[in-house]
């Protein structure tokens, strides 16, 4: 796996992707600066700072960055034919799946997780929000990258399918339907932030801290397993 990881990271880190996703991250930091400098009496800084982490960081920035990089981690090699140079080697498929997810996560952390954490810190409402943002964004990034790696391998136009999944499932169904919330990376990781920050009210359909941490971890394990199976049974062009 140590041989696969740097190749996948380097293939993913194209200038265009880095610039576009870096700009999204910069927005989080700039918004945090605005939150910090506003000083009028009616301004509820803790609430707005929390919403910045929750509504922009975990609901937009992290999933989009994870989608862009993770869907390309195996999707690009599958499309341009270079996957054969990784696939036709005596390497267990789970290692290839894990290396691809890890490569996408490695790039997503500085571009998505870090801006969320820096934004939480800049907004100046306390260390609990910073810790919550770190834990929630890391879990979300890991969960989304694992899921989108498999998506990129299985479908063409993975970006479009990924966006549809984010909008329909994560942002709509999971927020409205209680049972679906337990299968949502978004709701679970937003719950982690809220519970660490002790923010009230909790997100709609929030669950216990244990469940909120467990669900993304299970999603990661399942996604890597499914991606490994796809690599094992699918066809390589």
């Amino acid at each position: 796996m140590s041989a696969l990881f740097p190749v996948l990271v380097r293939s993913l880190a194209t200038r265009g992707r880095l610039l576009a996703m870096g700009a999204l991250g910069l927005i989080a930091v700039l918004l945090a600066v605005v939150v910090r400098v506003r000083s009028d009496a009616t301004f509820n800084r803790p609430d707005v700072a929390y919403n910045l982490v929750d509504s922009y960081g975990l609901s937009v920035l992290v999933p989009i960055v994870a989608l862009v990089f993770a869907s390309a981690a195996l999707g690009d090699p599958a499309e341009d034919g270079t996957l054969v140079y990784l696939w036709l080697r005596p390497v267990p498929r789970w290692q290839l799946a894990l290396a691809a997810s890890a490569a996408a996560l490695t790039i997503s952390v500085p571009l998505a997780v870090l801006p969320v954490v820096i934004g939480a810190a800049i907004s100046g409402v306390g260390v609990r929000l910073v810790l919550g943002a770190l834990a929630g964004a890391l879990l979300a990034a890991a969960g989304y990258t694992a899921v989108f790696c498999g998506l990129g391998l299985r479908v063409r136009r993975a970006l479009a399918w990924g966006l549809a999944y984010l909008l329909i499932w994560e942002q709509a169904v999971a927020r409205l339907v209680k049972g679906a919330a337990r299968l949502s990376i978004s709701v679970t990781t937003r719950t982690v932030v809220a519970r660490i920050d002790r923010h009230q009210p909790l997100p709609r359909n929030a669950m216990s801290m244990g469940v909120a941490v467990l669900v993304p971890l299970v999603a990661i394990a399942l996604a890597v397993a499914v991606t490994s199976r796809s690599l094992d049974r699918g066809e390589v062009t």
């Binding site: 190749v7 380097r10 034919g81 140079y85 005596p90 390497v91 049974r233 066809e235």
Partner: protein
Amino acid sequence: MSDPMGDPMGDPMGDPMGDPMGDPMGDAPGDRASPASIEVRELGRWFGPVVALSGVSFDLRPGVTALLGPNGAGKSTLFRILCGLANPSQGSVRILGEDPRRNPALTRRIGIAPQQESLFEHQTALEFVTLAARLHRVSDPAAAAAWSLVDGDLDPDDRRPLITYSKGMRQRVKLAQALVHDPDVVVLDEPLEGLDPRQRLRAISRFRDLGERGKTVVVSSHVLDEVEKFGSRILVIAQGRLVAEGDFHAIRDLMDDRPRLLRIRTDRPAPLAAGLLIGGAVQGARVSGTDCVEVETDDAPRFRRAVAGVARDAGARLTEVVALDEDLESVFAYLVRRR
């Protein structure tokens, strides 16, 4: 202008080596004494209504075998199935006695140079081949990669990324990564495309050397004259079917036996056409201009022997004799019809 007295039909007939259109299973290329490295049985593959391969069966043993066929014949699909990259729709493939599908361990014994050009473009040639060596768990992968590159006339110290490489250089890099772990079975999809003549000769010499060392080397090509240099064993695939297999010369003869259309340029087309028809060297002739006659023959060697004498008797001066249907597609179409 071509040599008027030259050989318009290409290579003269060699010694027949049996019926190249015979039972594919009964005339397998390779040394029959050694076990088959590659066994293909009734292989079929289709994509929806499109049949890419149908009823393909053959055994391959150590040595070089050329897989010949026009573009779109199914060569790459066959190669992908041989390497386990794709599933057959029917039939079976055994490589060194094992099913290549879902068998990563077997990949240690297979080397492939795929047809597509994409490589990890940001890497250097040495990094790319070293990656292959590392994934194959070659001891001292960097040294093995450097050796493999040098063997392909490439500089392992070249720091340029692969994106700057020419097509010929990329072909040699692909070959280097396919051979870096010293595989027993080597599958090379159109490996000579983009190589200059000197590099082609070098690559062909390398393939033959691998075959002589007991490796099973399968090389695809759509250029008939190219595969003659690989060795004598050939599989011909067209429209997804194995249409001929066996010795190169036998297949070449078979191709020579098909009806041929030729154009002859001469100062006296009508007397020449009449002479050829009367002598039975051609079955049809058409004067198509003041200096041109087109003839059809189903006995190319006989035509070759007769044309100069007929021209002399008719007082005609030959300035050109060319085959009008020499392209491989027409040859393969003929083989498919015969099959």
